[in-house]
């Protein structure tokens, strides 16, 4: 059985992901400082998140609720008794000299996420554990040529981010390719977006992903794994994984063993650099956090969190298909993005669902992409798009003209009805008016008329075009068509 990798396709890649999600709470995990971004350095801090002597942590209730939602959405078993541990190590961005995290009694264990792959198959990725911890501060390296850690003269630390609530999600090593990793992460991001507990934005740092990578011949024991860290976009993650798999394979195929190490991927060069891990791996000297008391979660708490879960993507997709008679593909796209799905449902509420789906997935999304906007930033409210679609449905304007109107709506913020009236775009459906125009065009194009009459029906296109030109696109196409036929066949 082949794994698909390596010169002879005889190796398989074995990948496990370690994901950190920043929670969207008002305050930090263990103190009441605001969780905000882009502030002046060290202006969202207090004695607790600065690690002043004598300070003590107090657990953010909402962070526990949010973390439980994530664990439930991933089908984890929720611990009835969960505690915090101290993870001890020295680093300038770690003010206490330890991180408050969880160790052998984490919040959630033994879940899974089913990932739909490109070819339509479903791959189940096991979730080993979900636990809560606090974020470190931000370190920037000053002086030195490259601004990277080694070679910098000194480092500057900002603790605004320090203490932000994090949820760590660890997968089983069930991922077999960079493609699967990308699909998994996308699914996970979508899922967590639906929960409303995090922005899960990789570029902004609210979603972080490290990977453990090894290779082996299928059926053999696991190979030595390396840790691929600090990938900050989906694309770099995929390329980084591929590069690391390649590197391990070329080592093995040259007869070299894979050595345990931490590796970095440089997207600009496309190459992997191996950081020689220090002689000793970190000894974190975990012990239960004595400044915090255990969290006891009874069935009532867990059920309450379960009830709070919004409709998750898989369920939403089913419902969209049923409720709006959408295709699996369309439902999949709309369930694949929470805000897009929400927008679609508001538009579809007031009219033709199929038309709404086409427009939301088509022109609407295209416009947002071209302008670099998110759904929330859309200048066109769903009610207004719905109105535009109504104008198409009742024949006031053609679908083609509606595109122009939409563009104007986006730029000016005007309502569709307003625009149509101001520009006199209402479709001409007046038979008498059209008849006159049709007659004029047929008269003005005798040779084309003759061609049509002699059997070349394709010429109709030319005539319709002329009518449209004459009416500046406002002629009702079906009516123009039938009137032209009448006039030509008369």
């Amino acid at each position: 059985m082949s794994g698909g990798h390596g010169a002879n396709g005889e190796y398989e890649a074995v990948i496990g992901l370690e994901i950190h999600v920043q929670l969207k709470t008002n305050t930090k995990m263990f103190c009441s400082c605001a969780v905000t971004f882009g502030e002046e350095p060290n202006t969202r801090v207090c004695p607790i998140c600065l690690g002043h002597p004598g300070s003590l942590p107090v657990t953010n209730e909402r962070a526990v609720e949010y973390a439980t939602r994530i664990a439930l959405a991933l089908d984890c078993g929720i611990a009835h008794h969960t505690i915090f541990h101290r993870k001890n190590y020295f680093y300038p961005d770690l003010p206490k000299g330890y991180q408050i995290s969880q160790y052998d009694l984490p919040l959630g264990v033994g879940g899974h996420l089913d990932v739909e792959l490109e070819d339509g198959s479903t791959h189940r990725v096991g979730i080993t554990r979900v636990h809560m911890e606090e974020d470190a501060g931000k370190l920037v390296h000053a002086g030195g040529a490259t601004g990277r850690i080694h070679g910098a003269d000194y480092s500057l630390v900002d603790f605004n981010r320090g203490g932000t609530p994090l949820v760590e999600i660890v997968t089983e090593p069930d991922i077999r390719s960079s493609e699967q990793a990308r699909f998994f992460l996308n699914h996970l991001k979508n899922l967590i977006e639906h929960l409303g507990v995090s922005d899960v934005n990789m570029e902004e740092g609210s979603l972080r992903c490290d990977a453990n990578v090894s290779v082996r011949r299928p059926g053999e024991p696991l190979g030595t794994k390396t840790e691929l860290k600090n990938m900050n976009s989906f694309r770099f993650l995929a390329r980084g994984l591929e590069a690391e798999i390649e590197r391990q394979l070329s080592d093995l195929e040259a007869g070299e063993p894979v050595r345990q190490a931490t590796v970095h991927f440089d997207p600009s060069t496309g190459s992997i650099s191996v950081l020689r891990s220090k002689e000793e791996a970190h000894d974190y000297r975990y012990f239960p956090e004595p400044d915090l008391v255990p969290i006891v979660l009874d069935e009532a708490f867990i059920e309450k969190r379960r009830a709070e879960l919004p409709e998750l993507p898989a369920a939403r997709k089913e419902r969209l298909m049923e409720q709006y008679a959408l295709s699996a593909y369309d439902a999949g796209v709309l369930a694949g993005n929470r805000s897009l799905g929400d927008y679609f449902e508001r538009v579809a509420a007031e009219g033709d669902a199929k038309l709404a789906a086409n427009w939301v997935m088509g022109d609407f999304s295209a416009y947002l992409n071209a302008q670099g906007l998110t759904v929330e930033e859309s200048p066109v409210a769903p009610e207004d798009l719905a109105e535009l679609l109504r104008l198409i449905a009742d024949g006031t304007i053609s679908g083609k003209l509606a595109k122009d109107v939409f563009a104007t709506m986006a730029e000016s913020g005007q309502k569709p009805g307003q625009i149509v009236e101001e520009r006199g775009l209402g479709q001409i459906s007046d038979k008498g008016a059209l008849e006159a125009i049709v007659a004029g065009i047929v008269d003005a194009n005798p040779s084309a008329a003759a061609e049509y009459r002699s059997g070349n029906k394709k010429v109709m296109g030319f005539f319709v075009g002329q009518v449209m030109k004459e009416t500046k696109g406002r002629a009702n196409p079906q009516l123009a068509n039938s009137l032209l036929r009448k006039a030509l066949e008369a």
Binding site: P47, L50, G51, H52, P53, G54, S55, L56, P57, V58, T59, R86, N88, F90, P92, P95, K96, G97, Y98, S155, V157, D283, R285, Y286, F287, P290, D291, L292, V293
Partner: protein
């Protein structure tokens, strides 16, 4: 108007202020004079708050009497382990020299809100690690009863200041006996409350699951009163509960019907014969007052020191990791790169005892050793708690001497750390179990104070001060340390 500072207590100061017999300024001045007169010999204070104290006193005196709270204007001093906003707080360590906390500890905030006047910060063993205050990086403190001897530790400055009447009362902290043992050696009252009764927010941590703030005072009533001011559940301390009901000043005069268990394991060979004599006399006094005294056995407490010297250093090694020269405190000039900055800062900033405990703690938590040491120690703790619970079913108080010996000479025990640890045998199990306990002056041996140690069940502070008060009234120890004031 002059006041004999030896006659003053917290409660007495309040009475004088209420009756108008003394002003806050007069009281503060009396103590500042006393400090000037004797602290050169005793060395209890690391920092005096003269100007601020006098200013605060003047402001209080300017208030109409009806607007003053009951404790406003009463002076107090605090161990230099409590964060006082804008006022240097060092834990008697070089690594915090010059450190000014940006916030007040909750206990300090409560003192401020009640209007007490903080005279200064008191000496201690560095980071509360020690039993003699000889581990202070700055100065030793001397026992007012014999200036060649130690005051005990780690709250040695607090005990000595109260004994020498340099303050009516003081706050100290207790992790393995650090309030009670110095109280015993200095002949004052020292109370360690139930774990969680007083908020630890702002108490610079030594061992988080054991530390508690408590009063060192001249009378048992004072201990009750001061505890009442600082206790309370604090939303900033997840492990705090406060007392179950407000503590009342004790009035009991006898011990009729109360059952006292003498902990057999604490009356072994290690106890000085002089101390044993005082303790036996105290037991007789208990019986005279109507109490029943019987021997009890709690076998697990013999492992208390071993468990403590695993748990406390482990927690301390982690709590002290924040002293890295990055955000506050001392930073070494040696250190071109981060690693050497860390190691030089910590090596130069910490004293030898602190380093020893950090090393022990790091060792017992390191890979492969956790279960053998920390895990076993926490299980031993369970056994100790069970032994106490079992015994408290039949007895109201458990008693013993507080310390195996009277105050020893400065320098006598510094060469042997383990010997120093072993002298905490009677006090340590109480911290492991989180129980309230008091040391009450019970007599003298060789002219030096001997303390009686009494333990109550969790949240049994009222019963504890009631019984201690009754005994105190009966003991009537009037002696004072013979200190001569220096006049410049």
């Amino acid at each position: 108007m002059s006041h004999d500072v030896y006659e003053l207590s917290g409660v007495r100061c309040r009475e004088l202020l209420e009756s108008g017999e003394a002003s806050a300024t007069e009281l503060v001045q009396a103590y500042l004079d006393r400090m000037r007169g004797v602290d050169g010999q005793v060395g209890a204070y690391l920092l005096t708050n003269e100007e601020a104290a006098l200013r605060q006193a003047a402001a209080i005196d300017a208030k109409p009497a009806e607007e003053r709270g009951p404790w406003e204007g009463v002076p107090i001093a605090v161990k230099d382990i409590l964060a006082t906003k804008g006022v240097e707080t060092t834990c008697a360590s070089r690594i915090l020299s010059g450190y000014r906390p940006p916030y007040d500890a909750t206990a300090i905030r409560k003192l401020n809100e009640a209007g007490l006047i903080i005279l200064g910060k008191l000496n201690m063993d560095e980071f509360a690690m020690g039993s003699s205050t000889e581990n202070s990086a700055f100065q030793p403190t001397r026992n007012p009863w014999d200036l060649e001897r130690v005051p005990g530790g780690s709250s040695g400055g607090s005990a000595a200041a109260v004994a020498a009447a340099e303050t009516p009362w003081a706050l100290g902290t207790d992790t393995g006996g650090s309030i009670r043992q110095p109280a015993s050696l200095c002949g004052v009252v020292g109370l360690k409350p139930t774990y969680g009764a007083v908020s630890r927010y702002g108490l610079i941590a030594f061992a988080s699951s054991l530390d508690q703030i408590g009063p060192l005072t001249r009378t048992v009533s004072d201990a009750a009163a001061l505890l009442g001011i600082v206790e309370g559940q604090d939303p900033l301390d997840s492990t705090s509960t406060g007392l179950r009901e407000p503590i009342r000043l004790p009035t009991e005069r006898d011990l009729a019907g109360r059952r006292f268990g003498v902990i057999k394991e604490f009356l072994g060979e290690a106890i000085d014969s002089g101390v044993r004599e005082v303790f036996n006399d105290a037991c007789k006094t208990i019986e005279v007052l109507g109490g029943v005294v019987e021997e009890v056995s709690l076998p697990s407490v013999e492992r208390g020191i071993a468990a403590y010297y695993i748990i406390a250093p482990a927690e301390a090694s982690s709590n002290l990791a924040r002293f890295d020269g990055v955000r506050y405190g001392y930073r070494s000039d040696e250190g071109e790169d981060l690693l050497s900055m860390y190691t030089h800062t910590r090596s130069e900033g910490f004293g030898p005892e602190v380093k020893r405990r950090i090393m022990i703690g790091t060792y017992v938590l390191s890979a492969g050793y956790y279960e053998a040491y920390y895990g076993q120690a926490q299980r031993t703790r369970t056994l100790i708690i069970q032994d106490f619970n079992r015994t408290f079913a039949d007895y109201d108080y458990l008693i013993s001497p507080t310390s195996p010996s009277v105050a020893f000479k400065l320098g006598e025990r510094t060469a042997d750390p383990l010997a120093m640890y072993l002298s905490d045998l009677c006090t340590i199990p109480v911290n492991l179990a989180g129980l309230p306990a008091i040391s009450l002056p019970a007599g003298f041996s060789q002219g030096l104070p001997v303390g009686l140690h009494m333990i109550s069940p969790h949240f049994g502070e009222q019963a504890l001060v009631d019984a201690a008060h009754a005994l105190e009234q009966k003991f009537q120890l009037g002696a004072r340390p013979a200190l001569t004031e220096v006049t410049e």
